[in-house]
Symmetry: C2
C-alpha cells in the first residue's frame, strides 16, 4: 500500500469527481469541494471528506484544482479565501484546468512565495478515464513538485508526460491537444452531415471512415453520439468556446495565425447560440444540420 | 490460383503503379499505360505489358482508371481515343479517381450504352498499400460490375466497402473521407507549428499527441515527415486543392456550408502558391512556419 496522503480536490465536476474517487480508492484521505452541494453529498457517501476546508488545509499534502479556467484557478489559490497562504511548507498544488502557459508560470511563482510546489498538470482522457484512474497528464514542474504530486498521479493517471522542469510546457501541450481535439470534433460534424447530403448515413459514415485515412480519435469517440441521437454531455459544447479561445489567445500573443482553429471555434459558438451549450459537444452537428435543413438521428 | 485475367491499368502514378504490380503479382496479364515513358519502361521490366493499347483493348476484361480527376477519366474513357467503344461486352471499368458522385453516375450510364460495366471505386490507403495490394476501396455499382471487378479487387484491396448498387455512393464516401483527411493534415500542421511557438518540439508533439484525444490517422502518418524534414512526396500538396475543391463543389451543389473545409483548402492553395505543389502534403506546415517566422526541422 502507498503511504496514505491528505489530499484536497477542488471542483467535483465530471473530471474532478473521478479524480477524487481515484484518490479515495488508493487509500488517501480525500477532501472534496464544489459549489454544487449535491456533488459534495455524493462524494461524502463514497467515503470522502467534505465540509469546511479551512479545518484541514494546514495538514494537506496535495491540492488538486480541477476548475473551469484560469480565473477560477486564481480564485481558489489566491482569492479572498485562497488556500495557498494556509498550506504547509512543501505541499503541492496540482493544477488541471486548461490555462495559458504564462498563467501557469505566474501561479508557480506565486506558490513558491509561500513555499508551496506547483505542478502544471492539464489532463486528457474524459470522465470515464478520470473515474478509473487512467487519465493522461501533460505535466511540467520542478522535481520537488513531481515528487510531492506522485501519490496523486499514481492514483489518477495511466500516463504522465513529463514535459519540463518548470510550469508552462504542460499547459502549452494541453493547448496543442485542445486545438486538435476541438477542430476534429467540428470537422467530424461537418463531414458527417456533408455525407448525409450525399446519401451517406451516420452509421455507414462511422463504419467506413473509422477504417480509412480520414479517421481521428474524436471521430471514433463522438460520431456514435450523433448516430445514436444521444447528446448526454460527456464533454459539453461550452468547453470549446473557452478552450479554443485560450488557444487563440495564446496564438495571438505569439503572432501565430490559426485560421482553422478560428473557424472551428465559430461552429461551437453557433452551437452555444442555438442553446446547446450544456449538450454533448457532438451537438455541434446540429449547427450544420440546421443550416442544410437535414434531420439528424433522433430528431422529429 | 485465380483465373488469369487481361487487365489494363491507365495511369501509372504512385497509386496506379502499385495497383498494376499487384495485378501482375496475382498472375494476371496486365497492360500499363502512362504519359511518362519512364514509368512504362519500369513496369515492362517488372513483367508488365506496354505499347499500343489498341492491340489489346478488344480482349481486355477490366480497365482500372487511376488518373488525376474527372476530366482525365472522361478523356480516357470517351475522349478521341477513348477505350470504352472498343471494349468487349461485359468488360468492366474500375474508376479510382476522386470525382463528383454525379460524374460517376454519368460515366456508368455512358458505359452501359456500350454494354460495359462501371464500378465507382475510389481508393484510400496510399502508395505503400497500393504496392502491397492492401488498398481500401469505397465501391458502388451493379452486381455485375462487382463480379467483373472481383479479380482486380482481390489482387489490389484488403478492404472493399460495398456502398450501393449504382455508381455514386462510392464517390460520395470518398469525398467525405477526403474532407476529413485534408482538414486533418492542415490542422496537424497548424497545431504542430503552434506548438513550436510554445516550445513544443515536433518530436515531443508526436510522442505526446499521438497518445491523446487530439490524434488522427493523418497526424500519425504525416507529422513524422515534418519532424524529419523529409518532404519526398508520398501524396502531393497538389492533390488537395483538387480534392477539397471537389468536396466544396459537391457541397455547394447540395447547398451545404463547409467552412472548415474551405479554410483548410486555402492553406494548401497557399502552399502551392509558395511553389510547394510537388512536395509531400505535410509541407503545408511551411505556410504556417513562414507566417510565424519559425524554422522547421531541416531548414537552414
Amino acid at each position: 500500500m502507498p503511504e496514505s496522503q491528505k489530499i484536497a480536490v477542488i471542483g467535483l465536476g465530471s473530471m474532478g469527481y473521478g479524480i477524487a474517487k481515484s484518490c479515495l480508492r488508493d487509500g488517501h484521505q480525500t477532501f472534496g469541494s464544489d459549489i454544487d452541494l449535491g456533488r459534495m453529498r455524493s462524494f461524502q457517501e463514497e467515503g470522502g471528506l467534505v465540509g469546511d476546508l479551512n479545518k484541514f488545509v494546514s495538514v494537506i499534502d496535495a491540492v488538486v484544482v480541477v476548475v473551469l479556467n484560469a480565473e477560477q484557478t486564481r480564485q481558489v489559490l489566491f482569492g479572498d479565501e485562497g488556500i495557498v497562504q494556509n498550506l504547509k511548507t512543501g505541499a503541492v498544488v496540482i493544477s488541471c484546468a486548461t490555462v495559458p502557459p504564462d498563467f501557469a508560470i505566474e501561479m508557480e511563482r506565486c506558490c513558491a512565495e509561500h513555499n508551496v510546489h506547483y505542478l502544471d498538470a492539464p489532463i486528457s482522457g474524459g470522465a470515464k478515464k478520470a473515474n478509473s484512474g487512467d487519465l493522461t497528464v501533460m505535466a511540467s514542474g520542478s522535481l520537488e513538485a513531481f515528487q510531492a504530486a506522485k501519490p496523486v498521479l499514481d492514483a489518477t493517471a495511466e500516463t504522465v508526460f513529463e514535459l519540463g522542469n518548470t510550469a508552462g510546457p504542460g499547459s502549452a501541450m494541453k493547448a496543442v491537444n485542445q486545438l486538435l481535439a476541438g477542430v476534429h470534433i467540428a470537422t467530424m460534424a461537418e463531414a458527417l452531415t456533408f455525407g448525409m447530403t450525399q446519401g451517406v448515413t451516420p452509421e455507414k459514415f462511422i463504419e467506413v471512415i473509422s477504417n480509412c485515412a480520414g479517421t481521428s480519435w474524436m471521430l471514433e469517440n463522438r460520431a456514435p453520439h450523433i448516430a445514436q441521437g444521444d447528446y448526454t454531455p460527456h464533454s459539453q459544447i461550452n468547453i470549446w468556446p473557452k478552450d479554443l479561445g485560450i488557444v487563440l489567445d495564446i496564438a495571438k500573443s505569439a503572432q501565430f495565425s490559426a485560421p482553422i482553429t478560428a473557424v472551428a471555434l465559430q461552429q461551437f459558438v453557433a452551437a452555444a447560440g442555438m442553446g446547446l451549450g450544456s449538450e454533448d459537444d457532438a451537438a455541434v452537428a446540429k449547427v450544420y444540420a440546421r443550416n442544410a435543413d437535414l434531420k439528424l438521428p433522433g430528431e422529429n
